[in-house]
């Protein structure tokens, strides 16, 4: 097997462009057979939510995502991998997180993107606070037990 690809990891307040990130992994190449892109967006929860406030642990957020991305690049034969996670105030309809996985093989692209999202949810140091329409301050989103279950799917 060839050397694992070098993942691109960014943690930022600004929005990102999923199309530009996909293009970066394919442009000028003839060995990419599959690109899977996951975009996570802020929902308004049937109008209940004004915005999400995403707190993060600067430094560790980047380091932890880089560790997870490196593990995916070891585990699947990827030609490229990009992970971007935003922080700060995010309104409904806006992007929160992006994973783009490129590979010669369809299944590697799907599985690695799925793996990345499961691990991000349970291991990347980000916390969502809800700003709700009725009151001034909101509550912290509780971690779902299901998120941990999702992550366990990848144990081997």
């Amino acid at each position: 097997m060839t050397a694992p690809c070098e993942p691109l990891v960014r943690v930022q307040a600004e929005d990102f462009d999923p199309a530009a990130e996909s293009r970066r992994l394919t442009e000028g190449r003839r060995d990419v057979g599959a690109v899977v892109s996951f975009t996570g967006l802020c929902r308004d929860e049937n109008g209940r939510l004004d915005a999400l406030e995403l707190e993060h642990y600067p430094g560790m957020a980047e380091a932890e995502i880089a560790r997870i991305a490196a593990e995916a690049a070891e585990r699947w034969p990827l030609t490229g991998l990009t992970v971007i996670h935003r922080f700060g105030r995010i309104a409904p309809g806006e992007n929160i997180v992006l994973v783009v996985a490129a590979s010669s093989h369809r299944r590697a692209a799907f599985e690695s993107a799925d793996f990345l999202m499961d691990f991000l949810k349970s291991r990347a140091p980000f916390w969502k606070k809800e700003h709700v329409s009725e009151k001034n301050s909101g509550d912290w989103v509780e971690a779902r037990a299901g998120d941990l279950e999702d992550m366990k799917r990848w144990q081997r």
């Binding site: 995403l54 929160i96 291991r123 916390w127 912290w140 998120d147």
Partner: protein, 83 residues
């Protein structure tokens, strides 16, 4: 030792970070959590359900049984909800 707090741990303690001098017998994360709870009601409330508190030592996830580092940064926070 530098302690950093996030999300509702930070809000309940009322500080984003602080530097503390630990007693000699505070050797593990569990010791640290117990000691912090003696420092006031805000700490007690924040760390009440200590089983759900997650810990990072020098920006890597750690267990409650982990030994505290000689130098560096210990972070306390709720289960993560990113992604």
């Amino acid at each position: 030792m530098k302690l950093v707090y996030f999300a509702w741990v930070r809000e309940r303690i009322g500080l984003p970070e602080e530097t503390v001098d630990l007693p000699a017998d505070v050797k593990t994360v569990t010791d640290l959590l117990a000691w912090l709870k003696t420092r006031g009601e805000n700490y007690e409330t924040a760390l009440e359900r200590s089983d759900v508190i997650r810990v990072a030592i020098n920006q890597e996830h750690a267990e409650h049984t982990a030994a505290l580092p000689r130098n560096g940064e210990v972070a306390l926070f709720p289960p993560m909800t990113g992604g």
